[in-house]
Symmetry: C2
Subunit: 357 residues, 2 copies
């Protein structure tokens, strides 16, 4: 029996079932560094430490011990299924008709890195930049499609001393499709304690990246707040309709509101910059989503839109007005159609903010 | 302090640090069903069980206890960062200036499901089909891009009693882009013991899917063997060059081999079907990768290509011959350039097999 065991990102994040399986194993096989991180768990057992490149040798060894009737634990860092030992092992055991395997899943760096950064995930893609056995073309294509799809993108194996080109192409492609202000979380696990850093794409330097780094690229709904990287999930903030919103949308539905900059308004320009006032009062207020620039006034339960310029941009206004036609027939729809309104908001963000320049 | 704790897919796959954090918490808040699965761990503590839809209520409650100085454990199934409680919580705590949070990552269903199915992952994408707060357009676009990129695709929240359209669109889009023979792993965790099933896309029925199902869609390198779903990672099988290969490629480099079907050959058609013999001897032999139809003869260390028709198809031959020009200058390159050969093989698979009809 071969237990392909994911030990997670570090000792404290190993699962109970992986821990038990390690305790029950006769023999432990794995890359030196990984075994050292769980030495106390496997103390007293037969242990075979191998070098990093030796995946096939480790696998064949596990098979030969298993054929002798031993209960083998084959160690993989993170999750064995994510660029780990599982795929290689399934390909190797198919040479035999009597080798049983069981995969013990683990916390992979994508989830671990996300937990350290805050809450950056929504729909996501994971891509390894290692071009040792994967053509660079294929890697580039995956980055492009993931960027166009607005996935959160987790990058494994971003760089090594001899392998820098895929990382450079990754940066170029993202600059092109997503723009230089795209947020990126960097999690460096080369030391015992992982270090995190949040940068914009134009600040992403090769010097900050090594083989033990995982990158998490934000999407159009990702923002930074208090040192955390957060991707808005888009949920309903329960709140009554503001009297000013009622007033504005009553006029709006009667076609009595201004188009473009309302220079006659006593508050103009209320957002400090030039602005279009077509949606003077935001139909999504309070969205509770920092990705468009708004934020909570702390401890007061008041959402401030002062730094949100998004709703006053031409592209946004066109997209929102177009969608409002179907959703907003009377002012009370602002309350009852909140989910549809939030979907419209999401659609317009994707349309207008996929590139962050 | 609020600990946002991922309890993984089930009790045995909880992490040690999540376990410890639960033990240290003063108060446990979460969806009823999830708390029940870890009842023995949190026994004796103050427990608040909530309904499923109440995410914001749960979050606000956690905040109010935290403001009272309690050490709160807020439970999320799987990983809190993957369609769990983390994003909502980070949006909610930004209302306050004095609420600390820590995210405890967990094994998410993507990794758990993959471990039960075998080793289906390589570069992957995860998409939730819930269109409650996400426009269907956006979901469709993500499925399309993920399919074109040849990602392994994990599907969360595939269906509910009232929400069937996104699943139907998902199937239609995949049929169109990837074809009816695309392999799909179904993992149903609605009961205590998860059930797995591997089907082709044309066999994927709504009746097999429920709210607790995760789907893993294979890519062009995914195959089924012994009830497992495996995606070939593309690694080097160490082996000498076969004498017949030497003979063939000596002729090939001298432009002395046949084009098209070699009807004069005493073994024709050696693969039972009509075939092009341009690459009579496969430059990738033994690839060890079942995705093109080959398999190991058990316990004999012999790779059989009898069921691999891929290398004898016109499109494949054109792609491979084109790439061989740069890689194969003399016969010994078949050995020394193995990694480049395997990359070429991968590139041609992607080019010729993205659609599985």
């Amino acid at each position: 029996m071969i237990n392909i065991i994911g030990i997670g990102p570090n000792r404290e994040n190993i699962t109970l079932s992986a821990y038990d399986a390690l305790k029950k194993a006769d023999i432990i096989i794995g890359y030196k560094k990984y075994i050292e991180s769980i030495e106390d768990i496997v103390e007293g057992k037969e242990i075979i430490k191998k070098g990093m490149g030796d995946e096939i040798a480790r696998g064949e060894l596990a098979i030969s011990y298993s054929l002798e009737g031993k209960n083998v634990a084959l160690i993989s860092s993170g999750d064995p299924g994510v660029f780990g030992m599982a795929n290689v092992m399934f390909q190797l055991i198919s040479k035999y008709d009597n080798v049983d395997v069981k995969v013990f899943p683990g916390v992979t760096s994508l989830n671990y890195s996300a937990s350290l950064l805050g809450a950056p995930l929504h729909d996501f893609a994971a891509i390894s930049l290692s071009d040792i056995l994967t053509p660079l073309d294929e890697i580039e294509k995956k980055i492009e499609y993931a960027a166009y799809a607005d996935f959160i993108i987790a990058i494994y194996n971003p760089i090594s001393k001899r392998r820098k080109k895929p990382f450079r192409r990754f940066k170029e492609i993202l600059l092109d499709i997503k723009g230089e202000k795209t947020l990126i979380g960097i999690v460096d696990s080369s030391q015992n304690i992982s270090k995190t850093k949040i940068v914009t794409l134009d600040q992403l330097n090769e010097e900050d990246i090594n083989m033990s780094t995982t990158l998490i690229v934000g999407n159009s709904l990702t923002y930074e707040e208090n040192g955390y990287l957060v991707t808005s999930r888009g949920y309903v903030v329960k709140s009554p309709i503001h009297p000013l919103a009622e007033e504005f949308y009553t006029k709006y539905l009667n076609d009595e509101t201004a188009t473009g900059s309302n220079l006659d308004c006593e508050f103009y320009p209320c957002h400090k910059e030039l602005q279009c006032c077509d949606l003077c009062y935001c139909p999504f207020y309070p969205c509770g989503d920092g990705s468009t620039g708004g934020k909570w006034i702390k401890n007061k339960n008041v959402w401030s839109c002062q730094d949100c310029l998004w709703i006053h941009k031409k592209d946004t206004i066109n997209c929102v007005k177009d969608g409002l036609k179907d959703i907003l027939k009377e002012v009370s729809d602002l309350k009852t159609n909140k989910k549809e309104l939030l979907k419209l908001r999401r659609a317009c963000i994707l349309k207008t903010k996929i590139k962050n320049d």
